[in-house]
Symmetry: C2
């Protein structure tokens, strides 16, 4: 970060990239506009010219992150595919995505915790009722057919999310706890793609 962003990008894009970098680490309250401007290699007044104020800039970054966290999963789970395939798809998606943006989970969860009321309207995009009815039906059929144990859809979703997302939220702690280099963590992330479905399917086995 000694030298800022390439100059061939538009100013708006450079601001967005810089804002993401700073907001992901410091959150809304901790991030400084001067810092974002420095990161983008621009004059601070441009932040206001392009994004009006801090909150609107943050909103832009947050929305994009939030869209990566839950809607993706609900979309995959809503597909007409065997359960095992969906679990694998989710594992692949999250492990790949989060390897590139490991700061995302804590960024989202932190903001949600600091301002829970702001969350309510955003949950609309998650389309939970459709997910729940679809998944509930699929689980019921699988259980009836004796292919899986009886499990509450909530528990399944939570387990899946936890196993996929939490290792990245814990990355600074994990890497120090296990003395992992960046390459070690990459290898770990790769192994998670298989471990997550194994854990989930083992639990589902009747």
């Amino acid at each position: 970060m000694a030298q800022s962003l390439p100059k061939d990008q538009s100013t708006e894009q450079r601001i967005l990239h810089a804002a993401k970098t700073v907001f992901y680490r410091k959150g809304l309250g901790g991030a400084r506009m001067e810092e974002i401007a420095r990161e983008a290699g621009i004059n601070k007044a441009l932040l206001h010219y392009y994004f009006r104020n801090k909150e609107q800039l943050f909103e832009r970054i947050f929305l994009e992150a939030f869209e990566q966290l839950l809607p993706q999963m609900t979309a995959i789970l809503a597909q007409d595919l065997p359960l095992e395939q969906k679990v694998q798809q989710i594992s692949d998606f999250y492990n790949e995505m989060l390897l590139e943006t490991p700061l995302l989970p804590v960024f989202v969860l932190n903001y949600v915790q600091s301002d829970p009321e702001a969350l309510t309207k955003r949950m609309i995009s998650v389309n939970a009722s459709k997910l729940m009815s679809h998944l509930t039906e699929q689980l019921a059929q699988e259980t009836k057919a004796g292919r899986i144990r009886d499990v509450a859809p909530q528990q399944l979703i939570i387990n899946l999310l936890a196993l996929c997302v939490f290792p990245y939220a814990m990355k600074p702690i994990v890497t120090r706890l296990f003395h992992m280099s960046e390459d070690d963590f990459r290898g770990f992330s790769e192994s998670r793609k298989q471990v997550v479905p194994e854990v989930i399917m083992a639990y589902l086995k009747p």
Copy 2:
């Protein structure tokens, strides 16, 4: 929080309690000393009288939280007990503790993410090498005896932590996603005490 803390507590205790409330939600950068003072029902100058500055007050709160997150788990895992018992103990400990302080995980992870360098010295208290050697040996014995599958200790620890901790980090999202009341979430937390060991042990089954 309309009316602040009971006046029968010492000023220092009231400050600590208020600081915990505010720091857990807003983090170090987002919390305001004036807000903490208001929460404690005192004059702002007292914060400096008792805790010198913002950082030192925060440090006090953070240390306590961090001690709840990892050292507890390493202590349990280091015991000479059957694996299944240890898993159950961990599940019980975390689910009970986090039901009372659901904001703790995100509070810790957020600070760790905003200042990763500050984490390194604190990992010393985790005593990871003792944990790893002890757990590795136990897992090797269990595998050799054919009682569990071959599993890397890192994967086991991560799965366990993820399944125990993440639901609480996700509480605002979970409660809205599944339309849970506070009582619903309490029931959910209670069920997690059993689900976590079930998931873990199912995965370990050879």
